[in-house]
Assembly symmetry: C2
Homo-oligomer: 332 residues x 2
């Protein structure tokens, strides 16, 4: 039986399981030009929270009563499209359905010999590409600089830090458990880590870890950690505003210290970064990331949850920091 996961209602504050609804749906048939896809892996990501709101953003909001979607790795089980054949593996923005049809647009064929399929949702997928292009396009990271990254044990953050090390930078990561900090240092080679949940004063912890100041801050969390990082930014520092998970669930406009004075005093730039703006650079990014992966310079971690029915819970767990590295759901 085919199934979909629909948005039942728009969450108020933190999403809950009751905001999702499983529905039995018909198994579609592929018409001429179409292909039938079997979902294998589903990516759950913090930014999806934004699409649950009814507001203008870089992608349209999810509709109540309709299936959600995210990056998915799927197998082509039938093809009436000349660009794909049965047995191909693809990744793309697809519905949360067990089986679905597609016209092939926006799908990328992926090579399971280069890396495991789930890696195409992480280190070779949008999260890895986000880390790479954020640093390239906005961070303009230079050898010897000090790179600070929040959400450092997450899918994006862990790649950000490793690229920092590949580029001979000092790298400090911020995360929320001692175990994660240990992983950053032992597995990913970060120079230092800050457990923000245990640090009495995050501002002085950053100042201490980055004694010569921060040149590039890759921000995945926003809020008070961003404020604290701003205090340590060097002249000409660059802030990549990639995510703001700490305030995604806020129902009222969150407030904080005004940043305009520090921006001016230190000629700092802050730039909102959405990887989709750089689609033309994806092939180069994947090529470079795959190369580093092959050379053993890039490690990654996944939290793999099994079962189609676990997708909503896996998404909710992101906001509790339960994942290490990329959170994916294995469906089949």
């Amino acid at each position: 039986m085919n199934k979909s996961i629909n948005l039942k209602n728009r969450p108020s504050g933190k999403p809950i399981l009751e905001d999702f609804k499983f529905e039995d749906i018909e198994t579609p048939e592929a018409a001429e030009g179409q292909l039938l896809l079997k979902t294998l892996y589903v990516s759950v990501d913090p930014y999806l929270r934004g699409r649950m709101r009814d507001e203008k953003s870089y992608i349209p909001p999810f509709k109540v009563g309709e299936p959600l979607e995210s990056m998915v790795v799927a197998e082509v089980t039938e093809s009436k499209n000349e660009n794909f054949k049965k047995g191909d593996f693809v990744s793309g923005m697809l519905k949360w359905k067990k089986i679905q049809i597609s016209d092939g647009k926006g799908l990328n064929k992926i090579d399971r010999n280069l890396a495991p399929l789930s890696a195409y949702l992480g280190v070779l997928g949008l999260t890895g590409i986000t880390a790479y292009l954020g640093l390239e396009k906005i961070g303009k990271l230079k050898e010897g600089e000090h790179l600070l990254v929040s959400g450092a044990a997450g899918a994006v953050g862990s790649v950000v830090g490793q690229i920092g090390k590949i580029k001979s930078c000092k790298v400090t990561g911020i995360a929320g458990t001692d175990e994660k900090i240990e992983t950053l240092k032992e597995k990913y080679g970060f120079d230092s880590g800050i457990n923000y949940k245990k640090t009495g004063n995050i501002k002085s912890a950053i100042a201490e870890a980055c004694a010569l100041g921060v040149d590039v801050y890759f921000d995945n969390v926003g809020g008070e950690i961003l404020d604290a990082a701003m205090a340590s930014m060097n002249k000409y520092g660059r802030v990549i505003n990639c995510g703001a998970i700490s305030i995604y669930n806020a129902e009222e406009q969150p407030t904080g210290p005004r940043l305009e004075t520090v921006l001016i005093k230190k000629s700092i730039s802050m730039q909102g970064f959405t990887v989709r703006d750089y689609a033309e650079d994806f092939p180069d990014a994947i090529k470079q990331l795959a190369q580093w992966l092959k050379e053993g310079k890039l490690k990654y971690e996944e939290t793999v949850v099994e079962g189609f029915e676990k997708i909503p819970q896996a998404f909710l767990d992101l906001f509790e920091g339960k994942n290490k590295g990329k959170m994916v759901v294995k469906v089949n």
Copy 2:
């Protein structure tokens, strides 16, 4: 008798006349390699408030008990330096003294035939250069875009708007009196103006004046006007954080709505801009500005206050918006 104006104490909140002290000082004599300068025009600027604080910034703070300094136009009355001769006019960062010596470093010779001397403190000085390079280097203003500028009737703002028109953009200015708004439209050719003191809702006033959104916001004021502008920024919008006069006098860290979410959603960049960072581009900037001035494409306004003893009051008046265009003090 020679005189200097010293910082008596660091202001708390808004500066007052009592924060300054006039002192009778000796008239210096030029040694070998030095020149004697007679102050003709003194520039007073909002950013000087920052230097009155005892904190790290892009230029060191003023010292209590010592003369303040700013951009000054002076006449060389005696020269023992081969690069200058008696009768030359120069501009540079000089002390608030009637007569002073200099070793010539950092002084620019200026041509009174190209423009009146005081213009070298304004449209051909740091303020004009700030407008030009802020738009070039950070705004990357393109034909047909909508440019919004705050402090629009000020020395920087009025040049910003005119450059916008020269570059075939739509230009909206924000200022604080109906008379200023009239000047923006009639004299400088702005498309529209907003009197923020009379507008009940600055956010909707901006949204109305910039119906297709704002592509570049040149911010001279910070605070709530910046917040309001952010709501109208277009995707890929650029904010030039040039000044924050609305919060310069705040004694406590001002707070406001967090901007990270809107930065991310619309791929907006905000960048602190300090014209001194681009010193190597000054000659080109002055050349272009002088060309536009000659062609009648660039108009400017000055508020000229007369008398060396009026310098502190002229500075204080900036925070009351009493100037139209560049505020300068004519000393001799």
